[in-house]
Every structure is written in structure tokens, then in C-alpha cells.
């Protein structure tokens, strides 16, 4: 047992010595493995990051929800000459009533929204005013940092109350307590009753438009309706300055389905209802669960493509190692002859060369891991993408690189072991 240990120690020592004897060559040899391993880890980290982001976004939207959005149809585009134009589109009261009667619909929360300037003292910023109901908090998973959310009574009494998003609080009330303060939206005063917790900002990588709910302000639906009506007014840049007026009854319905299994059938029913009620495609149905399934599917495809690329690069790396080891065997023919003459068995020669290959590929794998961990960090820093380095990708790629070393080391090692010692000794 002890003898075995010294033997192993010796051949490892000799192996490392031989690798250091040809530093440049060894380095070039392992380059294939380095790139292979680094690309596996880096690409998996980026892929994992994208899917993590998608999952988070979907969680945010609520996996048990169906979201219906009003969309401005393309044919309502205004002609150049017109200076004012009213476009009528979007979800209607009738849609709301009909969707509500679907048995699997547990909850339906409508919203009406507009982008507007919010002022407090001399400070102001643009935010999204969301006129809605108390249930919005529940279906959209809104947490509160301070104060409270809207209540049914607020809605019934048409209270001028507002719950502000995290970013709005930070800009308008950087130091003071916002609760009870009065903010102004289009000359109407609102009392701040609560502040929502910060929510992650979703980048465009997940297939959704980037939106930052931290700039949202929630007010009672009834208050919004009585103050702002159903018109959305905005100016449009163009050759002629013009005002654009949109008449929209509801901007969004957030529908919670009682049972996750019924989400897809419910969304089909909703689609049918909307199809009969609307002549134009002025709505959009978003099913987070479906998006989740899509994201999973995309991830699977991504992983397969990635796996193939990684496999190819590692095989190429392995062939590179084999090539060099074959050259090494030829170069060291005399040495092999000498070792055989003084009593090395074939097994000893195989062990020595195989170990050398495995050391090479392991070092390559190790460097590859370092680079592979570094790349996602740089991607996160410079491209702002989420990356998640999984421990199993490191274990996997390192195991594969050692495996490649063994696989591609066996042939050269056997070739060395089966040289005729007599001829090997006389090899010049």
C-alpha cells in the first residue's frame, strides 16, 4: 500500500516535470480544453441567468393570472394633416362583465392607466398612474414598505389617496416620511397613504417590454375615473405639433384563475369572448404560465445547442491532446525503452502517459473553470445581464475534461506501452 503511494507520487512528479519541460507546448495543448470548459460554464451561466430572469418576471406577473391588455391597433394611425384625433380602442365594460361570469375566474381586477407628471413641492417626475381596486395588491404581489394599500372604502368614498412606488418615494421624498403628504397630479391633490416595496426591474431579455413598476402610483379606480375620465391625452412629435386623444375604458384586466390546471382553458374562453366583442385586435392576452412553459422550452433547446457546442469543443480539445501525446511518445521512445529495460511493465508505461494526459487536461479544465467563472461576471458587469453560475456546471465540465484526458490519453499510452523495448532502446 505504501509502495503504491510512493509509486503514484513518483509518476505524478515525473508527469509534472515533463509538462513543465515543454511549457509552451503544454499550454497550447490544453488550450482546446480551456476554451471548451470555459465556454460550457459561461454559456450555461448566461442561459441559466436568462431563464432565472424569465421565471422571476413570470412570478411577478403571477403564474395563476391571465393578463389582458388594451393595445392600440395599427389602423388607427393618424394622418399627417390632422391636428387632433380621437382613437377609441381597448377593453370595455361588457368584456369585464362577461369574463366575470366564467366559473373558473376567481378574481378580475380592472385598471385604467396613464403616464403623468407627479409633483411634490418643487420636485416632479413622470410616473404611471394606475387606477385600480384593492385586490390589485393581491394579484400583483405588491408588498408594502410603509403605510397601507387602497381599501374598498377608499374606492366607495372616491378618496384622493395614493400608494406610491419605491422609486417615486426615493425621488420625491428622499429624506422625509411620505405618509400623509400631499402630491399633485394634473392639478388634483392626493394624499400618500402607502409606499410599495421595491420590485426587480425586468430587462428586455425575457420577451417582455421592459417596465419598471417602481414608478407606479396606485389610486382608487373611482377617484381616477371621476378626475380623469376615460381619455388619455398625449402630445406627439411630428412635422405638425398635435394632440392625440385615446379613449380607453379599461387598460388592463388581471384575471386570477381558481385552479392552475384551468388557466389554459380559461384563457381560451376569454379569447373567444373578446373575439366576439371586438372587431379589431385591440387587446392582448398574456398567460404567464404559458410564458413559463415557453421559457422552459427555450431553455431546453438552448441547453441542447450548448451541449453540442461544448461536446464538439471538448472533443476537439481532446484530439489536440492526443495529437501532442502521440508526438511525445515518438519523441520519448528511447526513454520508454530504458524504462522497459530496467523493469517497467506495460502497465507502468500506460499509467505514466495516461497520468500525464490527465494532468494536462485537468490543468486545462481548472484554467477553463477560472475563465468560465470570470466571463459571466464580466457579462453581468458590462452588458447588465443576469447570470447564474451553477455548481453542477463546474463539476460537470471538470469531470468531462478529465474524462477527455483519459479517453484521448489511452491510445497514445497504449502505443507507448506496446513499443518493442529492443527497438525503442536503439531509437535515435
Amino acid at each position: 500500500m505504501k509502495g503504491k503511494f510512493y509509486y503514484l507520487f513518483r509518476i505524478i512528479k515525473i508527469g509534472i516535470k515533463n509538462i513543465f519541460l515543454h511549457k509552451l507546448r503544454s499550454f497550447l495543448t490544453i488550450l482546446g480544453i480551456v476554451f471548451g470548459v470555459a465556454s460550457v460554464i459561461a454559456m450555461l451561466a448566461i442561459g441559466e441567468g436568462a431563464s432565472y430572469e424569465a421565471r422571476e418576471k413570470i412570478k411577478e406577473l403571477g403564474s395563476q393570472n391571465i393578463i389582458i391588455r388594451s393595445v392600440k391597433p395599427p389602423e388607427t394611425r393618424i394622418t399627417q394633416e390632422a391636428t387632433t384625433f380621437v382613437s377609441v380602442y381597448g377593453l370595455l365594460e361588457n368584456d369585464y362583465k362577461m369574463i366575470k361570469t366564467i366559473p373558473s375566474v376567481e378574481l378580475i381586477v380592472p385598471t385604467w392607466e396613464m403616464k403623468e407628471e407627479i409633483r411634490y413641492m418643487e420636485k416632479n417626475l413622470k410616473g404611471r398612474i394606475v387606477c385600480t381596486y384593492p385586490e390589485y395588491k393581491e394579484v400583483m404581489n405588491i408588498g408594502l414598505e410603509m403605510g397601507r394599500f387602497l381599501t374598498q372604502i377608499d374606492v366607495e368614498l372616491i378618496q384622493p389617496y395614493a400608494v406610491i412606488g419605491y422609486s417615486i418615494r426615493k425621488s420625491l421624498f428622499p429624506t422625509e416620511d411620505p405618509i400623509g403628504k400631499t402630491i399633485t397630479i394634473r392639478n388634483y391633490s392626493f394624499k400618500v397613504i402607502g409606499v410599495a416595496k421595491e420590485k426587480g426591474i425586468m430587462t428586455g431579455t425575457t420577451g417582455f417590454a421592459a417596465e419598471d413598476v417602481n414608478f407606479d402610483i396606485y389610486i382608487p379606480f373611482t377617484t381616477g375615473r371621476s378626475y380623469f375620465g376615460e381619455f388619455e391625452i398625449g402630445s406627439k412629435e411630428g412635422p405638425v405639433m398635435r394632440w392625440e386623444r385615446n379613449w380607453v375604458e379599461y387598460h388592463r384586466f388581471i384575471v386570477r384563475v381558481s385552479n392552475p390546471d384551468k388557466i389554459l382553458t380559461t384563457s381560451a374562453i376569454i379569447e373567444n369572448i373578446l373575439k366576439t366583442n371586438h372587431r379589431k385586435e385591440d387587446y392582448e392576452i398574456l398567460v404567464p404560465l404559458q410564458l413559463l412553459l415557453q421559457a422552459e422550452h427555450t431553455k431546453r433547446i438552448f441547453n441542447i445547442v450548448l451541449g453540442s457546442i461544448a461536446a464538439i469543443s471538448l472533443v476537439v480539445g481532446g484530439i489536440g491532446i492526443m495529437n501532442i501525446m502521440l508526438a511525445t511518445v515518438t519523441e520519448r521512445t528511447r526513454e520508454i525503452g530504458i524504462r522497459r529495460a530496467v523493469g517497467a511493465k506495460r502497465k507502468d508505461i500506460i499509467n505514466q502517459f495516461l497520468l500525464e494526459t490527465v494532468i494536462l487536461s485537468s490543468v486545462g479544465g481548472f484554467i477553463g473553470i477560472l475563465i468560465g467563472v470570470l466571463i459571466p461576471k464580466l457579462v453581468t458587469k458590462f452588458a447588465g445581464m443576469t447570470t447564474v453560475i451553477t455548481w453542477w456546471s463546474i463539476v460537470l465540465s471538470f469531470t468531462i475534461s478529465v474524462g477527455v484526458g483519459i479517453t484521448f490519453g489511452i491510445y497514445p499510452a497504449r502505443k507507448a506501452a506496446y513499443l518493442d523495448p529492443i527497438q525503442a532502446l536503439r531509437y535515435e
Binding site: 505504501k2 509502495g3 503504491k4 510512493y6 509509486y7 507520487f9 513518483r10 515525473i14 516535470k17 515533463n18 519541460l21 528511447r334 526513454e335 525503452g337 530504458i338 524504462r339 522497459r340 529495460a341 530496467v342 523493469g343 517497467a344 511493465k345 506495460r346 502497465k347 507502468d348 523495448p421 529492443i422 532502446l425
Partner: protein, 229 residues
Amino acid sequence: MRDQNNSIIVMKGVKKIYDLGEVKVFALKNINLEIKEKEHISIMGPSGSGKTTLLNIMGCLDKPTDGEYFLDGININQLDDDHLSEIRNKKIGFIFQNYNLIPQLNVIENIGLPLIYRGVNEKEITEKSKYYANLVGLGDRLYHRPTELSGGQQQRVAIARALVNEPVMILGDEPTGNLDTKTGKEIMEIIKKLNEMGRTIVIITHDPKVAEYGERVVKILDGEIIDER
């Protein structure tokens, strides 16, 4: 295991035939040879006489096509590659014309090489290697690489390596072939001394001056022993 009369080598009708397809080359025709313990024997012959083939068989690097070869009482004919390696490792010490040292290893590592394949521990290898390095007069060159040594010094390393495993026989293949006359003489003196210390020595050479050192000279020509004295 050993014969009663202490024979290290017993060869009976040893033949080596190389089958090259159309022609058969009889490298060794019919060799009968016995070498006793503590003998110093020289095997002489011109190139192509078959003496290298004989050395390969004696050194267990090759097996005879026909006939019997006993080394230290062991029938070599029946052994497989692993066992032949073991025999080389334990029973034979080689000295080659071109020294055959491993360039990456220093003097002490080169000397200790046979012991690695026996699983001897690091400390013992170093001790033994140092002892034999001192014996051949290389005590001050332990950590030099072969390329930093003269031809004579390299051959001394090879001799120390041949001794380190305490073999039953030292097999020299033209040990002075690459050396100048003076150094060659020094090397032969060392070998002579080893014989006096009780080692069995077999030297293969075409140089009569080297052969002179042997107590017995066997002449070989065309694969046959033609003279023995």
C-alpha cells in the same frame, strides 16, 4: 531455485529465427552456454554475428524461438511480458554503449530508476542511489543532468543504475564503445573491480582489449559459438 553448481545462465540449443516472410534469418543457430556465478565473461564477435541478439535474449528483452534458457534457475521461455519485466527489474543490470540515461532526470533519479518499479519508498531509493553513486565516484555530481556530464561520467551513472537493484548478473553491451581509450580503460577497471567484489559480469564486445578483461572469452560468428577459452 538455483542450480547446485551455481549457474547463473544455462542455454541449451538456443535458436533465434526471424521470419521475414520469404526468407528466414537464423540470427542464432545453436547456442549452448553456461555461465557460473561470479564469472567475468566476454562475448566477442564482429557485427552481424548475432551477439546483439544473444544479449537481448540473455537480458530477457527477447525470447528464443527454440531451445531453453534458464536465468538463475528460472525458465525464461514460459514467461509473459510482465514476468520478463520483473526478471529484468530484479535479476539484470544493463550497461549500454550509449549509456541510455533519461535526460529529464538527474544523476540520483537515473540511478534510482529500477527501484521505482518495485515500489521502494522515496527515502530508501535516495539512500541506495547515493551509495552507488559514491561507489562509482560520482558523489559530487548527484544533482547534475546527464547532459552536464562527460561520457565517462554518464557511463558511471549507468553502472550505478545497473547495481542499484542488486542483480544476479550485469550485462554490458559495448560499454566502452562511445568512450576514448583512457576513459574506456577506467570504466573497464570499475567493471573488473565489481567482479572482484563478487558480481557476475557478461560483456559483449568486438574489441579484443575489452574482451581481455574477461576470465573467459566466447567467440561467436554467424550465430554460432566458434571458440571458447
